[in-house]
Amino acid sequence: MTEQPLAALTLRDAIASVDSRIDAPAVSQGAPVEATSAGTAGRFILLSVASTHYAIPEAFVTELERVPRVTTVPRVPAWLCGVANLRGDIVSVIDLRAYLGHPPHAPSGARLLVVRLLDEPFTTGLIVDAVDRIVTLQGDDVKAPASPFEGALAPFVSGVCTIGGTNSDRLVAVLDVDRLLRSPDIRQFDDPSKDPS
């Protein structure tokens, strides 16, 4: 993504840019769902929680929102904020900062990331500090972590990669969302009655 002066950016330019890319030969547009499930290649959403960058496969993300009004529920851990109504769908909301043991201080750019399991109808909302953008990673971009990650999300890190940022390269942990959503912590409050399986 090339930076252009703000003044030079017009709608016409944008349309022209879009047209050129549509007419251009197809570039690698993300792996099919099968490849994505392997978790090693495809489009990933970059996000950050407590100054740590993570990448989540796009396939697990259904939508992205600002943090909605959350209805708290009793007798739950602090990282489980409660439930929220997203256009009629009720989703539970998990604060990843709190899950990682940080104080629940949501930055202004905090986002609610709605994630799902691919093979069963389970969705939940994850509150992250910021969502950066969508990147495409090749299979060999993701490597095994050189040193074990620490913290609550360490068991769910499948690998690390280096993403070129605006200022410098940054180390990004690739999260295995499938494993995260199947963890006992997340699923302990799952309503069995809702489970169709």
Binding site: M1, V18, R21, I22, P32, R43, I45, L64, I134
Partner: protein, 471 residues
């Protein structure tokens, strides 16, 4: 006759009788002799006559004159005693004879004379007293006033007393005269000195009067100069007043200008405040745009996700979403910068507002200062007016003084003439005083002839009070 017969009573008696008889005989003999006898036999005739007389005497003594003699004797005794000064004796006047008549007459005479005639003793005594008095007082004629007559109990005592009194008075007078003459002499000396001083003083005064005239003329000139200067100063003060008036007008204009500046500053402040409010609104709008950009970014991400889920069908849509996201990102970035700019603008606006308020305050302060300057200039105007009046008054007074000093100069000239006259008069006075000194010296010589007791109190008793005061 008296010297011959006063030895004894008998001789006297005899003498008297002899004289009587001799006279009778003598007369008889003279009558005989004259008729026929030469002068050489006069003595013989005389002797005869004497014998005759003696015989006659004896006869008469015994026969005729015995009683007469007795009476005569008594008369004689009485007369002798009278002659001796004893006027108390009386003649026995029992006889009815001629002698008795004489005796009675003598007695009567004595009775009448005794009160009139002192006795001889008294007379002698008085004479002695008078002589003594004369001797005592004879020095006075020579001017000796030291003498003092002895006061006795007799008649001259009173005279001596009176004389002493008179001498005392005279001594006092002479003493006073001497003292006065001495004092006059001294006074004349002093007068001479004074007159000399006066004369030289008059000369000096005349000279000084001339000098004073010159000085007064100079003074008149300088007063005239003062008058002119005062007039010039009055003109200057008037100019100062006019200048102060101009200054007041200028200050008034300055104050009006300050007021205009203040109004403009306040207007500008209002506009800047409005600008601040506008920038606030712009900030809100920028925030809104930022929000829209944020939402657009989210939408774009969601669109991208949806496109990915749509597989191959959503490929073109994914590109659009990607572009939209880029636009949204850039919009967000731009709004961030715009927000920062707006924030900076607001900060600067606040600073400008503060500066404007400071300026307004400063303008008000300056206006107040200018106001004070206006008041001060007004006071200067008043003071200049007063100054001009005062200087005019000074000028008038100086002119009056100049006229007065001319008058004084004239008076000084007159005084100079008078002083010259006075000097001449003083010289005449000095000459007169010299004459007076000579006269007083003469007077001194005269009164010094009078001899006074050494420490006569009267000599210093007379002191002229004015001369005492003059010392």
């Amino acid at each position: 006759m008296t010297t011959l017969t006063i030895r004894t009573r008998e001789y006297l008696t005899l003498g008297v009788v002899a004289v009587l008889l001799g006279s009778i005989g003598g007369v008889a003999a003279w009558q005989l002799g004259v008729v026929g006898q030469p002068p050489g036999s006069f003595y013989a005739i005389g002797g005869a006559l004497v014998i005759a007389f003696a015989l006659t005497f004896v006869m008469l003594r015994v026969l005729v004159f015995g009683p007469l003699v007795a009476e005569a004797a008594a008369l004689a005794v009485a007369c002798e005693s009278v002659a001796d000064g004893d006027l108390s004796g009386r003649v026995p006047a029992s006889h009815h004879t001629e002698f008795g008549r004489i005796g009675r007459a003598v007695n009567t005479m004595l009775e009448n004379t005794v009160p009139l005639v002192d006795s001889r003793q008294e007379r002698d005594q008085m004479q002695a007293s008078v002589m003594k008095l004369l001797a005592e007082v004879s020095g006075v004629a020579a001017g000796d006033l030291t003498v003092e007559a002895e006061v006795t109990e007799d008649v001259t005592g009173a005279v001596a007393d009176s004389f002493n009194l008179m001498i005392g008075q005279l001594r006092q007078i002479i003493g006073q005269v001497q003292a006065a003459s001495r004092q006059i002499s001294m006074a004349v000396g002093e007068l001479r000195d004074v007159t000399a001083t006066l004369a030289s003083g008059s000369d000096d005064q005349a000279a000084q009067a001339v000098e004073a005239s010159v000085a007064i003329e100079e003074m008149a000139a300088s007063i005239h100069y003062v008058s002119e200067n005062a007039s010039s100063s009055a003109a200057v003060a008037e100019q100062a007043r006019v200048n102060a008036e101009h200054g007041t007008r200028a200050v008034t204009r300055t104050i009006e200008g300050m007021k205009a500046v203040r109004d403009q500053v306040q207007e500008t402040a209002k506009r800047i405040k409005r600008l601040g409010e506008s920038s606030q609104e712009i900030g809100e709008i920028v925030e809104l745009i930022g929000d829209i950009g944020d939402r657009t970014s989210i939408l774009a991400l969601n669109a991208s996700i949806q496109a990915a889920m749509a597989g191959e069908a959503g490929r073109g849509f994914a590109i659009v979403a990607d572009e939209v996201e880029r636009l949204a990102d850039r919009a967000t970035e731009a709004t961030k910068r715009a927000g920062m700019l707006v924030k900076a603008t607001q900060g600067e606006t606040a600073e400008v507002m503060t500066a404007m308020e400071d300026t307004t305050r400063e303008v008000i302060n300056r206006s107040n200062i200018a106001n004070e300057a206006g008041v001060a200039l007004g006071e200067i105007q008043g003071v200049s007016n007063r100054l001009a009046e005062l200087l005019q008054a000074i000028s008038d007074a100086a002119q009056q003084q100049a006229r007065g000093s001319e008058q004084v100069a004239k008076s000084m000239n007159e005084m100079s003439a008078v002083t010259r006259n006075t000097a001449a008069g003083t010289k005449q006075t000095a000459a007169a005083i010299n004459s007076l000194g000579l006269l007083v010296d003469n007077l001194n010589a005269i009164v010094t002839r009078f001899k006074l007791p050494p420490t006569s109190p009267e000599a210093v008793a007379f002191t002229h009070p004015r001369l005492v005061a003059a010392r």
